[in-house]
Symmetry: C2
Subunit: 170 residues, 2 copies
């Protein structure tokens, strides 16, 4: 129960060691639990979790090219095509040629898309209640805000500026 200690001798204070507080696995676990429920909830709407992710990203930063979408979604661009085909077939997104560069497709959420996304999110309330049941409303809002900010990182960059300060803490 009162494991190790050692590890970071100096830096005195800091009663608990935050060294192992990595969110990765927890994120994975909760995302999975959420996705399992989301699948069945979303199925009647003809949507899948990854469609929701795409729509959410598009709502946050609409009007982007497909490769920009591929980059923020971190998916292969060839698979983005099929994803957008699905969404466009349902009239949830629109592909328009960019006037600046007519090779580009500017992808944007349609009104139907925004509406559908909102509906889906409402439908997911129950699923979220099950998965985040241990959290109160205020905490869920905090969580949402943190996730939203983390997800809305500047598309490409940062990386390489920091990440040295605590490199030796491990």
């Amino acid at each position: 129960m009162f494991h190790s200690v050692g590890r970071l001798g100096h830096m005195s204070a800091l009663p608990l060691d935050p060294s192992e507080h990595r969110s990765g696995a927890l994120l994975d676990h909760l995302a999975r639990r959420m996705r399992l429920r989301a699948e069945s909830v979303l199925a009647p709407l003809g949507l899948r979790p990854r469609h929701l992710v795409a729509l959410t990203v598009l709502r946050a930063g609409g009007g982007i090219s497909q490769q920009a979408l591929a980059s923020t979604l971190e998916m292969d661009s060839t698979n983005i095509v099929g994803l957008l085909n699905d969404l466009e077939a349902k009239n949830l997104v629109e592909r328009r040629r960019s006037p600046q560069d007519r090779r580009r497709h500017v992808v944007e959420l349609t009104e139907d898309g925004a509406k559908s996304l909102k509906e889906a999110e409402c439908a997911l309330a129950g699923a979220e209640d099950e998965v985040l049941g241990a959290l109160g409303p205020a905490e869920r809002e905090t969580l949402y805000e943190l996730l939203r900010r983390a997800a809305t990182t500047t598309p490409v960059l940062c990386t390489e500026a920091i990440s040295e300060v605590d490199a030796d803490a491990c």
Copy 2:
């Protein structure tokens, strides 16, 4: 662009509609980004993201049966077998027959397992920096705490008690 406001209006009156603040898609998105990086970081250690998830769960509530593990992981129990085979082959977990019910396997983290988990978490620091770059240390700790609490729900139950209050809010 400057929609700030809210943030921490300390929730008094709840002026904004929190109706669409569903974390599901964001959770999915961030988990994916994290997993992509985790895969390459973990590969040299012979581990995969899902192994980390299992180890994390076992550290939190060790000494549980395989089907209990399957239940909290929400995976099919047949697939748990292979997962545990991997971990046991590496001496990270131990399967012991339960004295109470000798059909059961009590699964527990070994010392090596705890050590390995900790190492892996340290190795993931860089990945987390990339994914959670927009969040400061205190925010990350808050996030971790929220995720941890959400992930550590009482194994089976809750569900059915609540989820009616805000059902009409949608």
